[in-house]
């Protein structure tokens, strides 16, 4: 499954470690939330980089104490129709100021890339190779955004205010 970061297909340096497999001392790993929470203090201080796969049915509040020590938070779209992870992503980015990698996993498809990007995701485990290749073009589909999110894109309401301002400044 291709990983897209910075609009490009890149190598995934993180290894998924199953719940019954041994956790290596170093190296970048992605583990389940259950595994992580069993021993969060130690795991968040291991030598290698640690990422957690967080289910969409659990409040992200439970992850907040460890956020500054996590390299990746991977949120899950069990199907693309289940949109809970969009709210989790915005909360992590906008309320809890999480600055590490925020990865979309599960049924990650082309037609949701822009929503995910706007919600704060910056890494995408894309289901279909063709979708991954189309990433850069797909996220350019829209140039107008009606609502503010943490992605910093200017909303129409603000653009209109600026237009008005410049009109009145240059009569």
């Amino acid at each position: 499954m291709p990983l897209v970061k910075g609009e490009k297909i890149t190598d995934d340096t993180f290894v998924h470690v199953a719940d019954d497999a041994e956790i290596p001392a170093d190296g970048a790993i992605l583990i389940s939330s259950a595994r992580f929470l069993e021993n969060a203090e130690a795991l968040s201080q291991r030598a290698g980089r640690t990422g957690v796969i967080w289910p969409n049915s659990r409040d992200v509040d439970d992850l907040v104490p460890w956020l500054d020590r996590l390299a990746v938070v991977a949120l899950v779209f069990p199907t693309f129709r289940d949109g809970r992870a969009y709210s989790q992503a915005r909360l992590l980015r906008e309320r809890f100021n999480y600055r590490g990698e925020l990865r979309a996993t599960g049924q990650v498809l082309r037609d949701q890339f822009l929503f995910m990007l706007r919600a704060g995701f910056d890494a995408f485990e894309v289901k279909k190779p063709a979708d991954a290749e189309a990433f850069a073009n797909t996220v350019k589909r829209y140039s107008v955004f009606y609502q503010p999110t943490g992605d910093g894109r200017m909303t129409t309401l603000h653009r209109r205010m600026m237009l008005r301002h410049s009109e009145s400044a240059n009569p």
């Binding site: 915005r90 107008v144 209109r160 008005r164």
Partner: protein
């Protein structure tokens, strides 16, 4: 009218191109039907019994004549020459071809019309009072706020995959014509003691198989906080609304299961957090004024209330009959709101032909400053008619079959498409409505009966709002046959209530007889000629009606 600016236009054009690409990928097999289904739904495209159905949004029920002509063009060019106006200020085309949909959308985009989010598990078309901006006594034009909400909810990155569909309705009048209490979020505009504009926010209304009347979650949310408060509700719902069972996924179930107090606390907590960390959603006066400035209002003339033309026409009983039924008070003296019944005797409720739409667009230009309204009762309105023009307008409307004087009367029936079109339906709705309009075709009888709303749904999904009909008719299937459950006493206005079942379901062939029996019982039982049917039911309960209907069955 709200006039799109360059930004609005750009966005809907970008949407058309996105959908064109999605259709192309579907036809090339790059998207599975499962993947494509949600994308097409979010552009208003359903797969029905016979063909694709295309639902186009008419935000807050306001149309320009130019837009109406383009709807006529779409009906003619891509469909079978007619369209069907729905209970949520949408229009549906029933015979559209998938490959042609992107072109139809592009044609609509030329006049600022779209089909975004008219279906799918997202925030749907924001609806409002069809008399917004012209109703006497209105606090202020609710369409300003409707438009702000339309923009805010369009392609929302967080809320495009909610547990289930989500509908907003707004009213700014004491008499609720927008049925806000049967919406996921209902907003009643009012002013606080300081004279500031805000909203009573209601939540968790909805019909379907588990109907609920909305409950007040907050009695006053300041206008500047409207978007942040709505976002808090949507966020709580997105995270905690049920996704394990499609029939329990609406916000009404979450509100019911948590209780309104607990749900309100969850929303309040979320809202307080948002207000602390994020002010981007707060509307300042300049932003609101900017939207307001894009709404244009007619340059009304100073006109008399009783012009000569009206005095003369008053001698014509047919004109008078129509005027008394279909003409309503306007906030400006000398003007009137005219409701156009889309319920001709024997016709399917809510349908209009392309030719009717074109002619009506011309009449709107001539008599209503180029503006047309669409109401949830599946009728149209001309919102700014000079009273001196009423006789001429009536003649013109009558010629195209849009002057049936049955507005708010027993034959002004709301009905879903039912089994004639819909893949979900268990029973037919349209032929029942048609039969009832024939039974009650006599205007004097209908007028004697007075205001009486009959709502018909062909299945439990309740698109015909049967629960809130004064008389509600619900089609069900029993051993492969069409049966109908009948309720009485429902209403969708500010005193919204769910109707009560009158007795066992009756077969297709008996529905019209039962309705006649109910109406006869009412005429015999009402306290005074001006006690409305729904008030008699309230006073007397179901029992006397049940007796009358089932005594001989």
């Amino acid at each position: 009218m709200y006039a799109y600016d360059e930004l609005d236009r750009t966005l809907i054009n970008e949407r058309v191109e996105e959908f064109r690409d999605q259709v192309k990928r579907r036809l090339a097999g790059e998207l599975t039907e499962d993947e494509f289904k949600m994308l097409r739904l979010q552009n208003g495209v359903y797969l029905q019994l016979h063909a694709y159905m295309f639902r186009v949004a008419i935000p807050y029920g306001t149309l320009s004549s130019k837009q109406l002509r383009q709807l006529a063009h779409v009906a003619r060019r891509y469909d079978r020459g007619y369209g069907h106006f729905t209970t949520r200020q949408n229009i549906q085309f029933n015979w559209i071809k998938l490959a042609e949909l992107p072109d139809a959308l592009a044609d609509l985009a030329e006049v600022g019309i779209h089909a975004m989010q008219t279906s799918g598990n997202n925030t749907r078309n924001v609806t409002s009072d069809q008399w917004a901006g012209v109703a006497p006594g209105e606090i202020e034009d609710p369409r300003i706020w409707s438009e702000l909400l339309r923009q805010y909810t369009t392609l929302h990155p967080e809320f495009s995959f909610l547990p289930r569909k989500f509908k907003f309705a707004i009213t700014a009048s004491a008499h609720d014509r927008a049925a806000i209490k049967i919406h996921d979020i209902g907003l009643r505009l009012h002013k606080n003691a300081e004279g500031e504009t805000g909203f009573e926010v209601l939540v968790g209304g909805g019909l379907g198989r588990t109907p609920f009347i909305a409950k007040t979650i907050k009695s006053f949310v300041h206008g500047r906080d409207l978007l942040s408060y709505v976002e808090a509700i949507l966020r709580v719902y997105n995270q905690y609304g049920r996704r394990d069972n499609i029939y329990k996924a609406r916000i009404k179930i979450l509100v019911h299961e948590l209780g309104i107090e607990k749900f309100a606390r969850e929303v309040e907590d979320e809202w307080q957090e948002m207000r602390d960390s994020d002010t981007a959603l707060t509307l300042d006066d300049a932003m609101i004024e900017d939207i307001r400035s894009r709404f244009s209002y007619p340059a009304y003339e100073k006109l008399p209330h009783m012009p000569e033309e009206l005095k003369t026409a008053a001698h014509d009983p047919l004109f008078e009959r129509w005027r008394k039924n279909s003409v309503f008070m306007h906030k400006i003296q000398g003007y009137a709101i005219v409701t156009l019944s889309l319920k001709p005797v024997g016709g399917p409720p809510g349908d209009a032909t392309a030719d009717q739409m074109d002619t009506l667009a011309d009449l709107a230009d001539k008599y209503s400053f180029g503006e047309i309204r669409v109401g949830h009762e599946q009728n149209l309105a001309l919102p700014h008619v000079a009273r001196r023009d009423l006789p001429a307008l009536w003649k013109a409307l009558d010629k195209i079959g849009l002057a049936t004087p049955n507005v708010n009367l027993v034959s002004d029936i709301i009905a879903c498409p039912g089994l004639d079109y819909c893949s979900l339906a268990n029973a037919r709705s349209i032929p029942i409505a048609q039969e009832l309009t024939r039974r009650f075709a006599n205007h004097d009888t209908a007028n004697l009966i007075g205001r009486l709303h009959i709502n018909i749904s062909g299945c439990i999904n309740a698109c015909g709002h049967h629960h809130v009909g004064h008389i509600g008719i619900l089609g069900v299937e029993k051993n492969g046959e069409e049966f109908y459950q009948i309720t009485i006493g429902g209403r969708a206005d500010e005193n919204a209530e769910l109707g009560a079942l009158i007795g066992p379901a009756v077969p297709y062939g008996e529905v019209a007889d039962v309705v006649e029996d109910i109406v006869e019982a009412y005429l015999a039982l009402r306290a005074r000629p001006d006690e409305l049917f729904v008030d008699s039911v309230k006073r007397l309960g179901v029992e006397p009606f049940r007796e009358r209907v089932y005594a001989t069955r």
